[in-house]
């Protein structure tokens, strides 16, 4: 009787520990993906600030108009064990034309980078935007 009780208790403890461990590991998976996507977005922010405005508004712009946007697969990095992680990147820009009656008459462009990635069965989206003006 006592041994049976101990056995049952051990099974319950094992299940609780396994659940806790699995939760911890799955949380780490989410954190690692956040780390990789955040790092990738530093590139997008740097590029959107650095790219000359002439290139931004050119026909072959890396940030085309919303209507001309396209998705591309990008490599975010590598997970422990060397597994390559990829995601889908969409870039586009919103043009806010200047007002000729205003004193500054600025042409303003907001450059968007939208990254879609998966963790398990769920799909997540992360975006950054940069304001450029002329």
């Amino acid at each position: 009787m006592e041994v049976s009780l101990a056995l049952g208790l051990a099974v319950i403890v094992a299940l609780i520990i396994m659940r806790a461990s699995l939760l911890a590991i799955s949380g780490n998976q989410w954190t690692m993906m956040q780390t990789l996507t955040d790092a990738y977005m530093t590139r997008e922010t740097a590029l959107s600030n650095r790219t000359p405005l002439a290139d931004v508004i050119a026909d072959s712009s890396p940030w085309p108009d919303w209507a001309s946007r396209s998705e591309q697969n990008v490599t975010l990095g590598k997970m422990p064990g060397g597994r390559v992680v990829q995601a889908s990147l969409t870039r586009f820009r919103i043009n806010i034309p200047g007002d000729p009656d205003s004193e500054a008459n600025l042409n303003v462009f907001r450059l968007y980078s939208v990254l879609k990635y998966q963790i398990g069965e769920k799909e997540y989206v992360k975006s950054r935007s940069t304001l450029r003006m002329q």
């Binding site: 051990a10 530093t42 590139r43 922010t45 422990p80």
Partner: protein, 178 residues
């Protein structure tokens, strides 16, 4: 009339367990012990997995945050093959460098110079930040000793640092767009 059979030891009281009871108890205890060993092994496996993930969960974000702030404050930069070639002023390179020389404009109209380089001396790979002094000497502090390698590149007008982790991880931080 037939009398009942007499016990061999009539004074002895039967207080022990039968062989079947003992065998059952020992078997259950063995199962219990095996289960505990399996639990312990499983826990150790999960601990090892968590440890393997530590570079991307803990170390890389800290390094990235620091590098990002430094890169984004730099006015201009050059990538070199190594710490020594950066000090010697050899020809800079665009990718695959192990050192980056950063220049910061100060408020007193002077230019401050700093260096970030991979140091693999003593069997440990570290990312170090160097301050170069006017008398030619340098002081340094360790950004991280959790990496196994790092390379710098200056392409498309931005500065990027690609870090390699101890378990095959790879992550790239960018900046320097001023």
């Amino acid at each position: 009339m037939k009398s009942p059979p007499q016990q061999a030891f009539p004074d002895r009281v039967a207080t022990g367990f039968t062989l079947l009871e003992l065998s059952t108890a020992i078997s259950l205890m063995l199962v219990l012990a095996t289960a505990l060993v399996v639990i312990m092994q499983q826990h150790l496996t999960f601990m090892e997995m968590a440890q393997r993930q530590k570079f991307l969960t803990n170390d890389a974000p800290q390094i990235g945050s620091l590098l990002g702030r430094i890169f984004n404050q730099a006015d201009h930069y050059f990538v070199y093959a190594s710490h020594d070639s950066a000090i010697a002023g050899d020809a800079p390179m665009l990718s695959g460098g192990k050192a980056v020389r950063l220049f910061f404009y100060a408020t007193d109209q002077t230019t401050k110079e700093r260096l970030i380089a991979v140091d693999s001396s003593g069997g440990t790979t570290r990312l170090k930040f160097y301050t170069l002094h006017l008398d030619g000497s340098e002081t340094s502090w360790v950004v991280s000793d959790k990496i196994t390698d790092a390379t710098f590149s200056a392409s498309e007008g931005i500065l990027a640092a690609t870090l390699q982790g101890p378990n095959g991880e790879e992550i790239t931080y960018s900046g320097g767009a001023r």
